[in-house]
């Protein structure tokens, strides 16, 4: 009997391995281990053996059964996996096909604006809105721009009445803020500004600025450099450096222009930076004492700094947009490049 079982096991084992699908395997399993299967028949015959042989025979048959069941189970698992894989393979689709879903996005100017706003908000700045149609006082006088200053000429600024204009700079937001809130102040004010320039590759009658203002005790030029250096790194990349150049604005003293190392050539000199390695990114300075006085803030107690950046310029430099008119055309082929 032992020999018979050995032969059966061997035969079944090789049949199982050559089984190609689940159904054949199941049929085979029934033929061996089923109620009227071959092994079941052998087991049934044990009862006819002499009692002293029964335990040994039973053990042999059971061992064979366990072994065969394991073989069937293993093969079954392998076949199931194979069949599943075949099914999955047959379900393969063309993933390069697109469903026609519209993809939206913000205007690139506002993507950059948000990036700038997020940066300053993270440093404790509030975001202040102020009117775009503004009294001359806020656009000029309060900012220490005297009556005979060239910026007040009718050909530079749009006027609505003799006392009201379209703001030509977001610096108006400084005054609006300081009239309402006393130091410490940390604010930025982004928005639309207007100047009487016909649209061309480098001008637009409407563009965007972001104003920054910090007023507190002991604010210094070094703080201005600290924050603007971080800002430039945030916008143009970690390796960006900045430099200060003396300049002049009526509402700051000392006044500076801030250059950043060119984001395209990293300072080596290229077309974007006209070979200098530097690009002008904003104007800044220590808030003029007269401006603080105009807002009833004591300039002997408080100092502050302010800066104003052209967001369109920064955006255009950053994205390599060479014509200032393009962002205002709103051609969807342009807009979708930034989605």
């Amino acid at each position: 009997m032992e020999e018979k079982i050995r032969q059966l096991t061997e035969r079944v084992e090789s049949s199982v391995l050559s089984c190609a699908d689940m159904r054949t395997l199941n049929d085979l399993k029934v033929g061996v281990l089923g109620k009227s299967g071959e092994l079941t028949a052998i087991l049934r015959n044990i009862k006819d053996l002499p009692p002293e042989q029964k335990p040994a025979a039973g053990k042999i048959v059971n061992e064979a059964r366990v072994k065969l069941e394991k073989i069937f189970a293993e093969r079954g698992k392998a076949l199931e996996e194979k069949e599943l894989n075949e099914k999955l393979a047959s379900e393969k689709i063309d993933i390069t096909i697109d469903k026609n879903v519209l993809k939206g996005g913000l205007h690139p100017l506002n993507i950059v604006r948000n990036k700038i706003v997020d940066f300053f908000v993270s440093l404790g700045f509030i975001v202040a809105d102020s009117p775009e149609i503004e009294k001359n006082y806020y656009n000029f006088e309060a900012l220490n721009i005297p009556e005979d200053h060239p910026a007040r000429e009718i050909q530079d600024t749009f006027f609505v009445t003799k006392d009201i204009c379209l703001r030509s700079q977001t610096s108006t937001g400084q005054i609006r803020m300081m009239e309402k809130v006393k130091p410490p102040i940390k604010m930025i004010s982004p928005g639309r500004v207007y100047r009487s320039d016909n649209p061309d590759a480098t001008h637009s009658p409407m563009f965007h600025q972001i104003e920054g203002l910090v007023v507190d005790k002991n604010i210094t030029m070094c703080d201005l450099k600290g924050i603007l250096e971080l800002f430039a790194k945030e916008i143009f990349g970690e390796s960006t450096k900045i430099r200060f150049r003396p300049s002049y604005f009526p509402f700051t003293e000392p006044s500076i222009e801030v250059d950043a190392t060119c984001s395209h050539c990293h300072g080596a000199g290229c077309r974007v930076c006209k070979g200098t390695g530097w690009i002008e990114i904003l104007g800044a300075g220590i808030v003029n004492r007269n401006v603080l006085k105009n807002c009833s803030i004591d300039p002997d107690v408080y100092t502050g700094f302010a800066f104003g950046a052209g967001m369109d310029r920064i955006t255009n430099i950053f994205h390599g947009i060479t014509d200032a008119r393009v962002p205002f055309e709103n051609d969807v082929r342009f807009l979708k490049q930034f989605n």
Binding site: G124, I133, D148, D163, N339
Partner: protein, 795 residues
């Protein structure tokens, strides 16, 4: 301004550093050199050469073959010129040379004879008679015979000047001159600045002219001198060259001197021929109807706010702008009145603008002329007149106005200056820098008493001094810090700003692209949008000085701009896109017209594409954050830019806060866009400040609900929304939700009717629904539909 380095070198030594080096240093103190111009930049390898021999060309009647000495070799040159003789010194463009305009000269045969270069005319070298004698000759430029051969022609013709084009800031009019820049360069390089020569002799004479200022607000100081025995002639070459390099044409010695002083000292001067002065000089505003023919030959009508220099009878000059036609210098001029004055920059600017008349003098006055340069400029001019022997300087001095402005004294300290800068600079370094700028500093141990020179009208307080210090100490010394000594502040967006960002995120998620369009529009948009002539939306703020009609009114609605953007995209064959803009509309304050207008945050949307329909724009707009939680109503819109049957108004508390729908076909035609465009506009001010009350959790249902489908036919003009409201009402407390799944007209449905199929979900929150409850509710629903809408149940 244009700064000639050799001129600068008259006052401060700069000829031992390269122009580039000097330019780089100037940037550090706030003078951006936009361009370094070399006057000979376009000329290369052109030398002086002596003509040794001229022979006719064997094969060409019009050509000659010359032998010339180019300094280190004898060359054969073929030329067509007729004005040369043996022994003449001429400019020779060698093989491989360059001439103005980029012209290249190479050795080449001319009718069989090799020419190793080209003899040049004055025109070919870009010079004219004003600085080079013989430059206009027909033929070759004949140079001075004493010039050696082989010299660089740029040296010989004075085309070796470096000129800086410097951009000056508005606060530094004192630097608008060679001498003004010399003071800065002297401080920059720690070099001595030589004062301009002011030497001259006066001739005793009792001629005089009375001088009076009648408009002291517009002219704070007026001075005049008389110069007799005027000899009008050409000014010397050095002066003509400097004027020419500054873009001024030399005229005669007297005019040239006034221009020269304007460039050198920064003081505009005017020379009047006294033969045309009737009586005394009166600086006054123009009389009504007064006119003047200016030096440019044009007649100008003067306004009463314009300042003139007049005699007893007539205006002689428009102050600071231009002299009168007859007051100018001519060959017969015997005696000249030389004016040096300070006119308010505002008056010169507005007069110049109003008349459309500009001059070098007006440009200078507009920037501001300081008190000190009046005397300096006048004295310098007299010294040059004396040097050029152009006339006799009489002893008469005419004067009116402020003699000398008060000296500004600023008391400060090294600590105050360093306090602003944030770095420590030694007091001795601060004093040294200030002194180099001609600021007198007294250090009394605790304070620095600074006496500001009068030409520095920009310096008012210690912050200005701090700027002077750091300009020369160097901004590189500023170390970045981050508010070491100040308070922490709470930052962030306010509620409204957060809302706007949220709306934008929502819209972007709906596949929309943001646009940014101009705030000013063409008022014809209101016509194109079919707004009624009396519609309040037409009450828009007009810009007094718009660029053009196209950008002339501040928009009170965004749809016009949006449709214009749609037009641009469609004209470029872009299709299938959704756009939005959140921007302000500007609504005039009709109650207080002198107050600022209201600026309302407004949303504009457009859906363009064959697959878009009314329900797309509706679902996007009506599910806007905030709006979705407000009790609003929809009604058919009467906005004339929308299709009357495919449009809706969003109404809150009786106010229409927004409208959307398909554009009216006439509007589509007006804007030249396809008809299947959907637009919407929503005044966000109504929803932006709506605070949603805290959401209280509603326990999820424990008992099962049931869904029942119903299909009815009703008259086509009944609204599904109204039917659903009735269903909801009829279902009462058991109502959970209702969902439309089909609206059908066509076969099997009677004409004028439609089939509406929907699913109602019922649920009892307290217990499992009984069959009776369900049946009764469904019966109630059907009854109400039958009663209110004449609905017939479809089987």
């Amino acid at each position: 301004m244009k700064l000639q380095l050799s001129w600068l070198n008259d006052f401060v030594k700069v000829d031992d550093i390269t122009p580039q080096e000097l330019a780089d240093k100037l940037v550090g103190i706030g003078f951006e050199v936009e361009e370094i111009i070399y006057t000979g930049a376009e000329i290369d390898k052109v030398v002086t050469a002596k003509i040794l021999d001229i022979k006719p060309h064997a094969d060409a009647d019009k050509l000659s073959v010359c032998m010339v000495d180019s300094g280190n070799e004898i060359l054969t040159i073929v030329t067509g010129a007729k004005n040369i003789s043996v022994g003449d010194m001429v400019p020779l463009a060698l093989d491989g040379s360059t001439l103005p305009g980029g012209k290249k000269i190479v050795s080449s045969p001319l009718r069989g004879v090799m020419s190793y270069g080209m003899l040049c005319s004055g025109k070919e070298l870009g010079v004219d008679e004003s600085t080079v004698k013989g430059a206009s000759a027909n033929g070759i430029l004949i140079l001075d015979k004493n010039v050696a051969p082989g010299l660089d022609i740029r040296e010989v013709l004075g085309l070796n000047e470096y000129i800086f084009d410097i951009s000056l800031t508005a606060n530094r009019p004192d630097c608008q001159s060679v001498y003004g820049m010399a003071r800065e360069v002297g401080a920059l390089l720690s070099r001595k600045v030589k004062a301009p020569s002011l030497k001259y002799k006066t001739v005793a004479n009792n001629e005089s002219v009375s001088v009076k200022i009648s408009a002291p607000d517009l002219c704070s100081r007026y001075s005049a001198r008389l110069i007799g025995n005027i000899k009008v002639q050409e000014s010397p070459l050095w002066m003509r060259r400097r004027l020419k390099n500054s873009g001024l044409n030399p005229i005669n010695n007297i005019v040239d001197i006034t221009n020269y002083v304007l460039l050198e000292i920064g003081q505009p001067l005017h020379a009047f021929d006294t033969a045309f002065i009737d009586g005394g000089i009166n600086v006054r505003t123009a009389k009504p109807g007064e006119t003047i023919t200016a030096l440019d030959g044009n007649l100008y009508e003067l306004k009463e706010n314009m300042l003139v220099i007049a005699d007893d009878k007539k205006p002689l000059a428009i102050a600071g702008v231009m002299g009168g036609e007859y007051s100018g210098i001519n060959d017969n001029t015997k005696t000249v009145l030389l004016e040096a004055a300070r006119f308010a920059r505002g008056t010169v600017r507005s007069t110049s603008r109003a008349l459309g008349l500009r001059s070098d003098s007006s440009a200078r006055y507009e920037k501001g002329v300081d008190y000190m340069s009046i005397d300096l400029g006048r004295e310098r001019a007299l010294s040059l007149i004396s040097q050029l022997k152009a006339g006799d300087i009489y002893s008469f001095v005419g004067y009116d106005g402020i003699k000398e402005p008060k000296e500004k004294v600023i008391k400060t300290s090294a600590e105050a200056i360093c306090g602003i800068l944030g770095i420590k600079i030694k007091a001795s370094d601060i004093i040294k820098i200030l002194k180099s700028l001609e600021i007198t500093v007294e250090d009394n141990g605790s304070a620095l008493i600074c006496h500001i020179p009068r030409f520095r009208e920009d310096i008012d307080n210690y912050t200005d001094l701090a700027e002077e210090v750091i300009r020369f100490y160097g901004y590189d010394h500023i170390v970045p810090t981050l508010f070491k000594l100040s308070e922490t502040t709470f930052g962030g967006l306010n509620n409204e700003q957060k809302k706007i960002e949220r709306y934008k995120s929502y819209l972007v998620g709906k596949g929309m692209n943001e646009i940014i369009s101009y705030s000013f529009i063409n008022p014809d948009f209101y016509d194109k949008l079919l707004f009624d002539k009396n519609d309040g939306v037409r009450n828009a703020i007009r810009i007094m000085n718009p660029l053009s009609e196209e950008y002339s009114v501040m928009r009170t609605q965004l749809t016009g701009s949006m449709l214009d953007v749609v037009r641009l995209n469609c004209s470029r064959k872009n299709e299938n896109f959704r756009l939005f803009e959140i921007a302000k509309t500007y609504i005039p304050n009709t109650d207080e017209p002198n107050e600022l207008p209201f600026e309302n945050q407004t949303l504009s949307v457009a859906f363009v594409g064959k697959d878009e329909d009314f329900y797309d724009i509706k679902s996007v707009l009506c599910n806007m954050p905030d709006l979705a939680n407000i009790d609003y109503k929809l009604g058919y819109s009467e906005k004339r830019f929308l299709h009357p049957g495919i449009s809706a108004d969003i109404i809150i508390d009786g106010n229409i806060i927004g409208s959307f729908g398909k554009v009216h076909p006439t509007v589509a035609k007006n804007f030249d866009i396809p008809e299947n465009v959907y637009v919407g506009e929503l005044n966000l001010e109504y929803i932006i400040d709506k605070k949603r009350s805290t959401v209280k959790y509603d326990p999820l249902p424990k008992y099962p609900g049931v869904a029942r489908d119903i299909a009815v036919t009703v008259k086509a003009d009944y609204l599904v929304g109204d039917m659903f409201d009735s269903v909801k009402c009829a279902a009462g407390e058991l109502f959970e939700s209702i969902e439309l799944f089909d609206v059908y007209t066509g076969e099997q449905i009677e004409k004028g009717f439609k089939s509406v199929a929907f699913s109602v979900k019922l649920r009892n929150k307290e217990k499992t629904l009984t069959e009776t409850e369900i049946t009764d509710t469904m019966k109630a629903i059907i009854e109400v539909l039958e009663k209110d809408f004449g609905a017939k149940l479809r089987s």
